[in-house]
């Protein structure tokens, strides 16, 4: 009874005049949009924003995605996200090019909307994130070698990263010079992440944890 197989064809033609191509086109268009908005891009999870960026959720609203901060950066450290809800917003891929902390902060000056807070004037007070040693077993210095590259490259040497001498239990006679990040000083510029000599950096900029005020402060 193939004659009975008609269903709902009445208004279908009126709806999509494109014939058989239209569903395919709509499916492809959806997939295209989904690829842009649903696939995570290079910058996801914690995103390292340029100096002066306001709190993450307000930043996403305030940034008009004009790219002027990226055009203003003399080191081309600022890139624009190309996926998801942060599309067009600036980020820094520190492993490629970190923020070199220009004293005049041209990126902040370029921002029209206040997403990069115009009151940001001192680079030492910038808090983009906090460097962290994410793999102690990998770190050459903590393994007892004399690496110290992150320490020496840090623009706030001996403030944001210090070397702490420790007993080396493996050899029993040498000293481990452990690089230690100090959260109060670290601006999160990513120079250490960029400089780490290992194929996958063991020191990485991550989200700054809010300072806690507790009764144990001494």
């Amino acid at each position: 009874m193939p004659k009975e197989r008609d269903d709902s064809g009445i208004s279908r033609r009126r709806f999509l005049k494109g014939g058989a191509l239209a569903p395919l086109a709509l499916a492809l268009a959806t997939a295209g949009g989904a690829s842009v908005y649903l696939r995570p891009g290079e910058a996801h999870g914690f995103v390292l924003r340029p100096p002066g960026a306001i709190a993450a959720r307000r930043f996403l609203a305030a940034c008009v995605r004009c790219g002027k901060c990226a055009q203003a950066c003399p080191y081309h450290a600022i890139r624009l996200q190309d996926r998801s809800v942060g599309i067009g917003t600036p980020y820094i891929a520190a492993r490629q090019i970190p923020c070199y902390l220009c004293p005049d902060l041209p990126c902040v000056k370029a921002c029209p909307s206040g997403a990069l807070d115009p009151k940001t004037t001192e680079v030492e007070k910038v808090r983009m994130g906090t460097a962290q040693i994410v793999d102690r077993e990998g770190c050459l210095s903590i393994r007892g070698l004399r690496c110290e590259v992150c320490y020496r490259q840090c623009p706030l040497i001996d403030q944001a990263i210090t070397l702490e001498p420790r007993h080396n239990p493996r050899t029993g006679e040498h000293t481990i010079m452990e690089p230690v990040v100090h959260r109060e000083k670290c601006v999160g510029c990513g120079v250490c992440e960029n400089a780490c000599v290992l194929p996958k950096p063991v020191i990485v900029v991550r989200e700054t944890v809010e300072v806690q005020r507790d009764s144990y402060d001494f």
Partner: protein, 275 residues
Amino acid sequence: MTSRWWLPRRAVQTGTILLLASPVAGFTFFSGNLASAELAGVRLSDPLACLQAVIGSGVLIPSFLFGALLVTSGYFVFGGRSFCGWVCPVGFLTELGEKFSSKVRRGGRFLPLATGRYILAAVLVTVAATGVPLFEVLSPIGIMGRAIAFASLVPLLVPAAILLVEGVAAPRVWCRSLCPLGAFYAIIARFSPLKVGFHRERCTGCGDCVAVCPVPEVLEPLWDQGACRVCAGECTRCLACLDICPERALSVGFRFKKEPHSVTDVGRPIEKSAP
């Protein structure tokens, strides 16, 4: 009112809600939701959820596939979109919502039924292109199931948005035309053995069945083409037409005698009632 199919249907719809809520009450014979569940030790899975998971992740667990095939077979026998009419909590919710709507227009034809098929295609292409199971993300069925089992209330904004749009702008637009799971079951249902039959000799052309049908397009071939049963996959087997017909001109079953004066025998319609 000649039969009372609405009673068992409301019982099954309510039973589904109770089943989803049963783990909260401490019962252990059921766990999960309509995407995947374990009922009395048997693993059951939504075939579209399974398809998306396999396409998107490349991970294939045999028991998962088996559970999906079991469900597919079940709905094949009872007419694929019987899921929509008898089981789906979103169908239940929007049916109830319709009763309170200021503009009840039964079977509002805002978008054609075929739209769902395009959305289904878009969902599958998206999963293949991005690995994101688009319908599992958006599904108000999943959202309602988790709201019942886990008191996950914020996502209820999505079914609420559907109710709002259906109530004010586009009656029945979600279940009729947008839901890709409905479209998926409609494809299966086209070949289902359980169908609504039509007894032309009893029909007086009163149009009550068309007025009560949530997808009245499926009834049109009965008069336009002299069909002796509803063959369109979009029929939800809600059997409201059986309940309403004062002449018992509609029936439900697995086999239908060819009627002596039907179009399939003589080649063209003998009478054409106004719907």
